[in-house]
């Protein structure tokens, strides 16, 4: 059931459907759909066993552009629909697509549960910190002070961090990347796919119409080196043009600080090594905000465990072995019956 071996190698374009893509010109979603198609081609994914499930929003149109099975559902509920798809047929490779409004506002509850249950699906959250399809209202990830049609004087409520939320939900794979980072994105998708259990990937995506440039302070070419730190398991958390900056634990405190090698006696040996199995560290990394900190990218946390779907079927097998199915006629006769002649 789980075999992913198509007769001949497919190219990224073979995973594209014949439907005209209808995102705004310049939207970050174009890059993401390309990255996913590339990742599927790299993995040799079988279209017939691949299912994309989405909610509502700009991002949620995604399945229509894939030449796989797809289900464009209702606002916020994609994780729940995907749960049913995966449990009905665990052999399918199931991807959940949604935006920040879809997955953290109206559907926040389902995102929580798909992650904590550890269902073997990939959850791709396209975060543009704005409601695009409804024309530009602020979202649960918008920074305080975001001016939008519904918050003309600026939003006053605190945003949620998608990755911090996912870690709090007990997600066992949490990663972050940027829509335009085509070098990294397909590989990250592949890592998400290869992880058994729920894999959460936040993709920072630029909404060119309603929130253009929201991430430019760390995604513009000139700002990448100083604005992002790439998390790689076992490697020092270094960044900057010449990898001269790094993160370390403030001595005597449970917090991260930015240090420069060669300054104040700091050497590379002082720099924290990334441990992707350390949840408290992951929480600290995921929480880092510009301008005082670089934004953490890559696999922030990974600690695989038994997936929910596998556990469900293991239990079914156990129960079935103990007391195998009997015909319904017999089932109904079990217990106290009496005969009338």
């Amino acid at each position: 059931m789980n075999v992913q071996s198509p007769p001949e190698a497919l190219k990224p374009n073979d995973y594209a459907s014949d439907q005209e893509v209808r995102w705004c010109p310049g939207c970050g979603d174009y890059a993401i759909v390309k990255a996913v198609q590339k990742a599927l081609a790299n993995m040799g994914a079988d279209p017939k066993n691949t299912v994309f499930v989405s909610g509502i929003g700009c991002a949620a149109r995604f399945p229509y552009y894939m030449a796989t099975y797809g289900f464009h559902t209702i606002h916020g509920r994609a994780p729940a629909v995907a749960t049913g798809v995966k449990l009905a047929n665990p052999g399918l490779d199931v991807w959940v697509i949604g935006g920040d409004g879809d997955m953290l506002s109206i559907g926040g509850n389902h995102t929580l549960h798909v992650l904590r249950r550890n269902i073997d699906v990939q959850v791709l959250l396209f975060n543009n910190e704005i409601y695009g399809l409804t024309k530009g209202q602020y979202s649960p990830t918008s920074k305080v002070g975001t001016r939008s049609p519904s918050t003309p004087a600026g939003s006053v409520d605190s945003p949620v961090s998608a990755c911090v939320f996912a870690l709090g939900c007990n997600a066992r794979f949490v990663a972050r990347s940027v829509d335009t980072n085509l070098k990294v994105l397909p590989g990250l998708m592949q890592e998400a796919k290869e992880n058994t259990g729920a894999s959460f990937v936040e993709i920072l995506q630029n909404c060119i119409v309603y929130n253009d440039g929201v991430y430019s302070s760390f995604t513009d070419k000139a700002n990448i080196a100083d604005g992002q730190v790439v998390c790689e398991h076992g490697k020092p958390l270094l960044y900057g043009k010449d990898k001269e900056k790094g993160l370390r634990m403030t001595p005597g405190k449970m917090e991260l600080e930015v240090v420069t090698i060669g300054e104040n006696g700091v050497t590379e040996a002082d720099i924290l090594l990334h441990d992707e199995t350390n949840r408290p560290l992951a929480l600290m990394l995921a929480s880092m905000q510009p301008p005082n900190f670089p934004v953490a990218m890559g696999v922030i946390f990974r600690d695989p465990g038994l997936s929910y779907d596998a556990a469900v079927y293991e239990q079914i097998a156990e129960v079935t072995e103990k007391s195998p199915a009997i015909p319904i006629n017999e089932l109904m006769h079990k217990g106290k019956t009496w005969t009338v002649v």
């Binding site: 017939k48 464009h72 049913g84 047929n89 389902h110 006769h333 106290k336 019956t337 009496w338």
Partner: protein, 621 residues
């Protein structure tokens, strides 16, 4: 009401035709358990029976209060019966609050068994009595048996090493023992059950069995008032076969499983706990070996969405809930309608609106079932009328859902879910299989290709080579299944969806008359659990020469093809419902007939006597 034949059997026991007993006590007194065990024994004795458990929403309401009273009524007879009985002939009141709540229902001259031990000054006051009802004329018109059941129970289990609290808990079993003596019921099924239930706590089992036997022995030896004797209710004459006592939840569960097997599908059941629907989740969770995957979702929305996802992937998606939960599911039901996937929604209706009366029964979700979604969103609606009928309706729901690629709303009721009745076990081989054929032909495929006759779209499931496709909530093009914003196409698709559901009318039986003539002065039209009460009330009227018929509707939507013509053959149409008049509105709007409503919204089933009076009075109007 008991018909006192004044005949006795060879042991000098008075022979009764039928009897109605109500057990009432604190919600912690174990009245539901007492009732259930008495039911089991009665069923095994070969009586026909019908029960009505009536309990508060609180698990353990404050002790001794009237709102914490829990009751279980059983009607059993030597003939066929259809309802749990209008009024009890025997009332067992375990405390003053139970007496306060239920005495008004006891028939004049009826037997009242009181647990004297609970009639303390404080309890009497808590029940709202100004003075002890034992010391004034409150109980004058009844045959009263006062027993200190608490004390008797303590004495009976004195030799067993259990705490006083545990010992006192067995007083319901003592009472059950007494009732077993009085009505000649076998105690062994209860003893077996106790041993099984408390297998790991042998002392508790022993204490309960000791109490049960002591209650029975008390009846045999005590000097009870001379008019109290033992009774025998002979076996009912019923069709030969193997029987068991069942509730509507059990039959629904088996029906769904039978349906799924006839369709050749595995069940995926997603649900969120809610009263009174949760027992179906519990029952199906025990059928893992039978190809049933159950999923306790994080909420009602997730429950229905997971089920829809499972149907998309080729399982038979089933969800269940009660009114408030169905409301939460309605957006996803719209998605199920527009994506034309098979799905079954079992609604165990309860009294609304909102939280309403969670443990009380009602039939007030008919509008919600037929009309309660945004857009033009038709779906078939069927309603079960008895615990036995729940089995057939469940199979029918599966058949319609898979044949027509549509969600089906299966209306059940809290009353049917909980109430027990004897059921002649069916043979699943008698049900014609209706195997599902998934799409496999790639030539000319698109997801909305329709069967010319049923208008059902083809069902292509993930994993099928060459049939990769995308579906969703946006309107689809009739000819390609791709997204379409075309206005004429939307008109056409809306019409097709409606026509597909209306076409089901050609695939269901014509409406028949349950009893009475096919035309005449009056027809009483019911649906759901009112079947038994309407049936008995109309038959009594017919026996008295009145020209009244009974029609009971299973197919709420679409309605049977001939129903309009049938109704037009009657001068008067009376529609009794446990709601404020919902089916009556549907009938009036569909057929422009002057149907009259008979609404009862008390959270309680109709009484036969009330219905009979109303039928007679409306006939005279």
């Amino acid at each position: 009401m008991a018909t006192q034949l004044k005949e006795t059997d060879e042991n000098g026991r008075e022979i009764l035709d039928s009897v109605v007993i109500r057990f009432a006590g604190d919600s912690g007194d174990g009245m539901q358990l007492t009732g259930t065990q008495f039911t089991q024994s009665t069923a095994l004795m070969g009586n026909d029976l019908s029960t009505f458990p009536d309990f508060p929403a609180e698990i353990r309401a404050p002790v001794g209060t009237t709102y914490g009273v829990s009751a279980f009524q059983i009607n059993f007879a030597s003939h066929a019966i259809k309802t749990p009985g209008d009024a009890p002939d025997v009332l067992v009141a375990m405390n003053p609050a139970a007496l306060k709540v239920h005495l008004k229902d006891l028939v004049p001259g009826g037997t009242l068994i009181l647990n004297l031990g609970a009639f303390t000054g404080r309890n009497i006051e808590k029940a709202g009595y100004k003075e002890s009802p034992l010391e004034n004329d409150t109980l004058d018109s009844y045959r009263v048996i006062e027993i200190d059941i608490s004390k008797m129970t303590l004495a009976a289990v004195d030799h067993i090493d259990v705490t006083q609290k545990e010992a006192l808990r067995a007083k319901n079993l003592w009472t059950l023992g007494l009732m077993c003596w009085m009505y000649d019921r076998d105690r062994q099924p209860t003893i077996d059950w106790l041993n099984q239930r408390f297998g790991k706590l042998p002392l508790i089992a022993e204490a309960n069995i000791a109490a049960l036997n002591a209650g029975h022995a008390f009846g045999e030896t005590a000097e009870l008032p001379s008019e109290i004797s033992t009774y025998v209710v002979p076996k009912a004459k019923v069709e030969p076969g193997i029987y068991r006592a069942v509730t509507g939840v059990e039959t629904t569960c088996w029906g769904l499983l039978t349906g799924a097997q006839k369709a050749g599908l595995n069940i995926f059941f997603g649900s969120y706990p809610i009263t009174p629907a949760s027992p179906l989740l519990h029952s199906l969770s025990n059928l893992k070996a039978h190809g049933v995957v159950t999923f306790q979702a994080e909420d009602e929305i997730s429950a229905v969405c997971s089920v829809l996802g499972a149907s998309f992937a080729g399982s038979l998606g089933i969800t269940s809930s009660s009114g408030p939960g169905i409301a939460l599911k309605s957006e996803a039901l719209g998605l199920a309608v527009v994506t034309e996937l098979p799905l079954i929604i079992v609604n165990f209706q309860r009294a609304g609106p909102s939280t309403g009366l969670p443990t009380k029964t009602e039939q007030s979700d008919l509008y919600q079932a037929v009309f309660g979604r945004n857009g033009d969103t038709p779906m078939p609606v069927i309603a079960a009328s008895t615990a036995s009928d729940c089995y057939d309706c469940a199979i029918e729901a599966v058949r319609l859902a898979t044949k027509y690629m549509t969600p089906v709303m299966y209306l059940n009721e809290g009353f049917l879910a909980n109430a027990a009745e004897p059921w002649k076990l069916p043979d699943t081989d008698d049900v014609e299989p209706f195997p599902v054929k998934f799409a496999s032909e790639t030539e000319g495929f698109h997801p909305y290709l329709r069967d010319e006759k049923t208008l059902a779209r083809n069902w292509a499931i993930p994993g099928t080579e060459g049939l990769e496709h995308r579906i969703g909530g946006i309107e689809k093009d009739y000819d390609s299944g791709n997204i379409s914003y075309d206005s004429d196409n939307h008109h056409k698709m809306t019409k097709v969806r409606a026509q597909k559901i209306l076409g089901i009318a050609d695939d269901i039986p014509e409406q028949e008359v349950v009893s009475g003539n096919n035309s005449g002065k009056m027809v009483v039209v019911g649906w759901g659990s009112t079947f038994g009460a309407i049936e008995q009330a109309t038959r009594r009227c017919q026996e008295d020469g009145l020209d009244v018929s009974h029609i009971h509707i299973r197919y709420i939507w679409p309605l049977a093809r001939n129903l309009g013509e049938l109704l037009k053959g009657f001068d008067k149409i009376l529609v009794p419902e446990m709601n404020n008049g919902q089916l009556v509105t549907l009938l009036r709007s569909e057929y422009l007939v002057p149907a009259e409503s008979l609404a009862q919204i008390t959270g309680q089933p109709f009484k036969v006597g009330d219905l009979e009076r109303e039928i007679r009075s409306r006939m005279e109007d």
